[in-house]
Amino acid sequence: MSDAVRIGTRATPPPDLQELIARVARGDEGAFAGVYDAVIGPVLGVVRAVLRDHAQSEEVAQEVLVEVWRTAPRYRQDRGSAMNWVLTLAHRRAVDRVRSVEASTAREKKAALLEQMPEFDDVSEQVESRLEREQVKRCLRALTEIQRQSVTLAYYQGLTYRQVAELLSLPLGTVKTRLRDGLIRLRDCLGVSA
């Protein structure tokens, strides 16, 4: 057994995350505990999707949270919601980490990647995020095959679009536009606004 009872992430960020971040920006450690609760589930999820390795993911997720604390005074609401900011940071960190170790193992990884392609099912079964996951899955299914592969390989596997192109044996330009088209369709399907 593990992780059985835990309040995890909500499908939508709690309404006061922005406010919490504003307090964190003023050095409020108590508010940071609230930020931690609100973001740790998705942060760890994003990092683990990209890195796979649990110990390493935990380490990077911790670094991300420390970075949130450290740079909260620079966060600007007009550039997007606090959750977007945090998850962008998390994804960026994970991608940096995976690319720094990747070069040497690129060959072996290629085969592994193709096998575990659009799965994205090895996520936890938390009630709170199930709805969100269902909606995202449904919208991913609505993409064309190439759009979906481009989006999931780039986002969940942390590949560059060049690597995606190589992996799928497609021209660079095709992957570039499919990745964009795919994200635009997802945006519309999920009703995202920014």
Partner: protein, 250 residues
């Protein structure tokens, strides 16, 4: 050859962090001048955040305390871009330390040819990109800090090393010269030592025997540092006996 029309289509790859460094940099220049791309990037970043939310997992409960303990020691950045604050540089006696430091870095550069000292040269660090850039700025600030102090260290088989510590920056760097290559699949990992407890402080580049590495994380009163050989990607705790342990200069 990258026309503007071509650049507009990079919003998706940019939002998903799927650009290589050079392309990312040129797209960021474009972004600052193209409002429609900037808007699209905001929307697509909000979209990728939804992909992130959908991947949520439950963390190990003890992680929370660990993180809260860590942040208690981390200084926050000032709100906006301000000029450097704090008192003006002072004091003669520090000079010596800086000279020693300069010599040490020069030695690193001479031996390896690619020391991080050339922090402006992005070509040398292309593969480590932005991270390296930020690190080298921090590194430059650390090396130039008026209170930077150095301690040389001998490593096994003729390799040399030096730690540079600046309390005012709350950071440390490690300069390695002529270190043996780690075995395949292994890396040298740096640690801060707090009363014998090792705290992860980043990895060394396994491909270079001579390098200057900004140690990750704040000094936070650490008494020294250590280096161990770890599986690629590093470990949360040391899994082998240290190849070197160095006390920070008092």
């Amino acid at each position: 050859m990258n026309g503007a029309a071509d650049l507009h289509t990079l919003t998706g790859a940019y939002a998903a962090h799927a650009l290589e460094d050079e392309e990312r940099e040129s797209f960021e220049r474009h972004l600052s001048a193209c409002e429609s791309c900037a808007q699209e990037v905001r929307e697509l970043r909000a979209t990728t955040a939804r992909l992130g939310l959908a991947a949520s997992v439950a963390p190990r409960p003890a992680m929370k305390d660990e993180v809260l303990r860590r942040i208690a020691a981390v200084r926050q950045v000032p709100p906006a871009e301000r000029g450097p604050d704090g008192p003006p540089p002072k004091q003669r006696p520090r000079r010596l330390a800086q000279w020693a430091l300069a010599a040490c870095v020069a030695a690193a550069a001479a031996l390896g040819g690619t020391a991080v000292w050339q922090y402006g040269q992005t070509q040398a660090a292309r593969d480590q990109a932005r991270q390296a850039e930020q690190q080298s700025q921090e590194l430059a600030a650390l090396l130039a800090a008026p209170d930077a102090r150095t301690r040389a260290a001998k490593l096994s088989d003729g390799a040399g090393g030096a730690v540079v510590v600046a309390e005012s920056r709350d950071r440390a760097a490690f300069v390695a010269t002529g270190m043996a290559k780690p075995p395949a699949g292994k890396v040298y990992q740096l640690w801060f030592s707090d009363d014998g407890v090792m705290r992860p402080a980043g990895l060394m580049d396994p491909g270079r025997s001579t390098q200057t590495v900004l140690m990750e994380g704040p000094l936070d009163g650490a008494a020294g540092m250590g280096i161990t050989l770890e599986p690629a990607g590093g470990s949360a705790r040391p899994t082998t006996a240290p190849v070197a342990v160095v006390n920070f200069p008092a």
